[in-house]
């Protein structure tokens, strides 16, 4: 069973590496949004530093959507999904494997690139570290929530926009606690760990609920 899990993770990582695409694309998209904001708001460094964590988080939420529509759709189109559902391992485990691989290629690079992109919005070193940490803890929640939408729209052609409309509202709590944790690190009355712990809890809960819901949606869609 662990062998099947690792096989799916390895295959998806290999595919992502070979085709390229969504991982690098979402990183560039992330950079685009973060780079556009200073142009839109003007070069007020104090203002940018204050809203910096919020900008990075909104950019991360939007960048997570890139490539999410192909998460299950590509497998649905070429019949790989039928292969997965015929495996002795439960579909939930294989969905977990696919989402894990997707997070490793999209969510993790976002969190790791945040210190660099924080420069564009004049974040202090402490702010960069805090935002990066909150993204590391919070992006799994975004990916798992998105996976439910991806599973629901797997058999819909051009379902990307529907996917965004379905999952973005569900990502709001993660965004709220992510930004408030990052801002707590920059000063304020709330200790940094309180919102961060809630963010971690959101990721863990999304991991369980998202996996079960996505597998159920795939079964139902068959």
């Amino acid at each position: 069973m662990g062998r099947a899990f690792l096989a799916v993770v390895a295959r998806d990582l290999r595919l992502a590496g070979r085709i390229g695409g969504s991982g690098a694309l979402s990183l560039v998209f992330f950079l685009m949004i973060v780079a556009l904001v200073p142009f839109g708001l003007g070069p007020d460094l104090n203002l940018l530093a204050r809203i910096g964590p919020g900008i990075l988080w909104i950019a991360a939420v939007l960048a997570t959507l890139i490539g999410l529509d192909r998460l299950f759709q590509a497998d649905e189109e070429d019949g790989s999904l039928d292969l997965l559902s015929g495996a002795p391992a439960p579909l939930e485990l294989l969905v977990l494997a696919k989402v894990t691989a997707h997070w490793l290629t999209t969510g993790l690079p976002l969190a790791l690139a945040t210190p660099l992109f924080g420069l564009l919005v004049a974040l202090s070193p402490a702010g960069m570290a805090a935002t990066s940490l909150t993204l590391l803890v919070g992006t799994p929640a975004l990916t798992f929530i998105g996976a439910v939408g991806a599973a629901l729209t797997a058999s819909i052609r051009r379902g990307g926009l529907i996917l965004a409309v379905v999952v973005l509202p569900l990502m709001v709590p993660t965004l709220i606690f992510g930004v408030s944790a990052a801002e707590a690190a920059l000063g304020g009355t709330v200790p940094f760990t309180t919102p961060l712990a809630i963010l971690g809890a959101l990721s863990l809960a999304a991991g369980v609920v998202g996996t079960l819901a996505a597998a159920a949606a795939l079964r139902w869609g068959e």
Partner: protein, 215 residues
């Protein structure tokens, strides 16, 4: 393994394709499903594979232990489940790890289908017939008793069709089951034939069922 289908009925987009379809397939037996285009051959195979719910009827498997029917079968159909960016060998190695009950090594399975030279090529570069042969090689990397083949000879050249017939004979000799939907004769002497069209609802059935839509 023994596969028993009782009174299967199938309705797709409001139109009933067949009803009252029953058969029993024992170990070492082959069944060819025939019928004109759109008669419901692929739908029957999808029902057998557990990918489509039958409108009525029951499907049971005996002597398979704890496994469910989808875990006992291989499907080779139009959507081959191969990733174009991965090599033939990588695709088969993935299927082997995923499906369990490993049998032949990927390279050995490809060699059996005459594709040893293509093992390291990405599947996207292969021709339709070669792709089909890679999908057929999946039958050999994991041991599963029931083979569901949808138009297995499509795009295959004469030599590959003969190789496929040889594989099916060997599988049947080992006590496997083969169900193939096909228009062409499969060179299997012992294969029984099931015509889906024989189970098409007749006019009188339609009249007797007030909820049935006009065919």
């Amino acid at each position: 393994m023994r596969l028993i289908a009782e009174d299967l009925a199938c309705r797709r987009s409001g139109r009933r394709l067949f009803s009252g379809l029953s058969f029993t397939l024992k170990a070492g037996e082959a069944l060819t499903v025939t019928g004109r285009n759109g008669a419901g051959k692929s739908s029957l195979l999808a029902i057998l594979a557990g990918r489509l719910r039958p409108e009525a009827g029951r499907l049971t498997a005996e002597a398979v232990g704890e496994r469910t029917i989808p875990e006992c079968l291989h499907v080779v159909g139009h959507r081959d489940g191969l990733k174009g960016a991965l090599t033939a060998e990588e695709n088969l190695a993935f299927a082997r790890d995923l499906l369990g009950a490993a049998d032949l090594a990927p390279r050995a399975a490809l060699a059996r289908l005459g594709l040893a030279h293509a093992a390291g090529l990405p599947v996207a570069y292969l021709s339709a017939g070669q792709r089909r042969r890679v999908a057929l090689a999946r039958l050999l990397v994991c041991r599963r008793p029931l083979w569901l083949l949808d138009e297995p000879t499509a795009a295959l050249d004469v030599a590959s069709q003969a190789a496929l017939a040889g594989l099916m004979r060997a599988h049947l000799a080992e006590g496997g089951l083969v169900i193939a939907a096909t228009h062409q004769a499969l060179e299997l002497e012992a294969a029984r034939e099931l015509s889906v069209e024989a189970f098409r609802p007749t006019r009188s059935d339609v009249a007797a069922d007030p909820f049935a839509e006009a065919v």
